[in-house]
Structure formats: structure tokens, C-alpha cells
């Protein structure tokens, strides 16, 4: 057995994150760590240490799909892990992310009002109002929380679905963060 490191337990962080957001949506901001840290490691370190060792989500899929056998463990369909699909999904994801930031801006500028919903699969609006007491923070801060949590929860659910259908970490084959950091690393290594 390999010796366990502290970061082998970060799957707990993944569970904690979604639990916190269930009680107070403002905790959604903590998810920015999972966005900025992998990018920083890729841009400055030229590695995917985040994906390889620190990502709680990847570890969680491994635990559920591998150790707890919640995965059929069938090969990922080849198109799902193909380069064009990965890049297309990244573009789609970034577009939706940009839209979420724009919605936040609209609320900040007063052009639209705060909506206390979590939007799943970019379509279904789930009331989530109990997690926020109006007026605690500026409206745009709250709006961003709902938007960001929506993205995190949607991608978690997608990841769980492909985990059940295919390999435990099939999500990682086309995860936008994984694709983005890999492309950065490829650029960096080409330059050197």
C-alpha cells in the first residue's frame, strides 16, 4: 500500500462544499479555489498537480465508482474523450460561465433583480431561497453564489451520471478544467 498523504482526503472537501451550499449559498464562493488553483498551477508550474493529486471531485468519483463500485466500469465511448468533443465542451462551458458572470453584472448594475434559484443543466430552476437571507451582502455577490453553485452542482451531476455509466473518472476525460489546464501545459511545454 502506498502511504496516504494529507491530500488523499480532499474528496471530503468536495462533499463539504456541496453541503455548505445547501445551508448557505454564500459558501459557493469557496469553489473559486477549485477554479483558480488548477489554473495557477498550470500557468506558473506547468503541471496538472491539481488534477493528479488535489482535486476532491476526481477523488470522490474514484471512491464512489471504484471503491464503492457505483460504476459499471465500462470503457468511455471514444467520442466522449476525443479532442474535438473536449474542446467543444470547454467552449460551451466557458460560454455558460460568461453568461453567468453577465447575469451577475446585470444584477449588480440594477438592470435585473436577484433570483434565488439554482439552475441545473442550464435549464431547470430549483428554488434555493432558504440558503440566503436577503440583504446580507450586495445582491450581485449573492447572484454570483447562486450562479456558481449551479455550475458546480450541474457538473457534479453530469460527472456522477458518466461515472455510473462508464469509468469512475470518465468526467475527467472531458472536464473543462482538466482540458483547459492540459492545453495550458501543452503550450508551456512547446515553448520550452
Amino acid at each position: 500500500m502506498k502511504k496516504k498523504r494529507w491530500y488523499d482526503y480532499l474528496w471530503l472537501w468536495a462533499i463539504l462544499y456541496f453541503t455548505l451550499g445547501f445551508f448557505n449559498i454564500l459558501f459557493a464562493w469557496l469553489g473559486m479555489i477549485d477554479f483558480l488553483l488548477p489554473l495557477a498551477l498550470a500557468i506558473f508550474g506547468g503541471n496538472k498537480f491539481f488534477c493528479n493529486h488535489l482535486c476532491g471531485r476526481g477523488q470522490l468519483f474514484n471512491k464512489l465508482g471504484g471503491d464503492l463500485k457505483c460504476s459499471r466500469n465500462k470503457p468511455t465511448p471514444r467520442w466522449l474523450a476525443s479532442r474535438w468533443f473536449r474542446l467543444a465542451f470547454l467552449v460551451f462551458f466557458l460560454t455558460m460561465f460568461g453568461n453567468m458572470v453577465f447575469q451577475t453584472y446585470l444584477v449588480g448594475s440594477g438592470a435585473s433583480s436577484l433570483r434565488e434559484f439554482v439552475t441545473l443543466f442550464w435549464t431547470f430552476q430549483v428554488p434555493w431561497g432558504w440558503t440566503y437571507a436577503a440583504g446580507t451582502v450586495p445582491d450581485w455577490v449573492a447572484q454570483y453564489s447562486f450562479g456558481f453553485y449551479s455550475i458546480m452542482l450541474t457538473s457534479l451531476l453530469l460527472g456522477l451520471i458518466v461515472m455510473a455509466l462508464f469509468k469512475p473518472r470518465t468526467w475527467c476525460a472531458f472536464c473543462p478544467m482538466g482540458t483547459m489546464t492540459q492545453e495550458i501545459c501543452k503550450l508551456k511545454n512547446k515553448k520550452q
Binding site: 498537480f49 493528479n52 476526481g58 468511455t76 474523450a81 479532442r83 473518472r169 482538466g178 482540458t179 501543452k186
Partner: protein
């Protein structure tokens, strides 16, 4: 003595996720510079654990080329 079989990575499909690295009992496969996984053929015993976990289907267990 070297094993009969050895892991081979299709770099064009590898997502550099590190699932293989974390499962290899001999630390014979590692993600290099965030780009793709590389097999240390001296260490690899061809057990196939990495190929089984790989979410991108980018690892094949092949017969070792005769030296």
C-alpha cells in the same frame, strides 16, 4: 526479468488526469508536465490496472517488443 507485457499510452487521447498514476502499484506511469502520461518500461509489469482505470481509454497493454 522483464515482464511479457507492458503499458503503452496513446498521447493524443490522454487527458493527463493522473488516474493511472494513482493506481499503479509500481509507480511506473506518471503524468509528464501536465501533457500526457509516460510509462517507465523498466518498472512496468504489465498488470493492466492503469488501462482499467483510464477514463479516456488511452492505455493499451501490449506485448513487449523483443530486444
Amino acid at each position: 526479468m522483464a515482464s511479457k507485457r507492458v503499458a503503452a499510452v496513446d498521447r493524443s487521447r490522454c487527458a493527463s488526469c493522473g488516474a493511472c498514476e494513482n493506481v499503479c502499484p509500481r509507480s511506473a506511469i506518471k503524468v509528464k508536465g501536465g501533457c500526457y502520461a509516460v510509462v517507465d518500461e523498466e518498472q512496468c509489469v504489465g498488470c493492466g490496472k492503469c488501462a482499467n482505470i483510464c477514463p479516456a481509454g488511452s492505455i493499451e497493454i501490449k506485448e513487449r517488443a523483443k530486444a
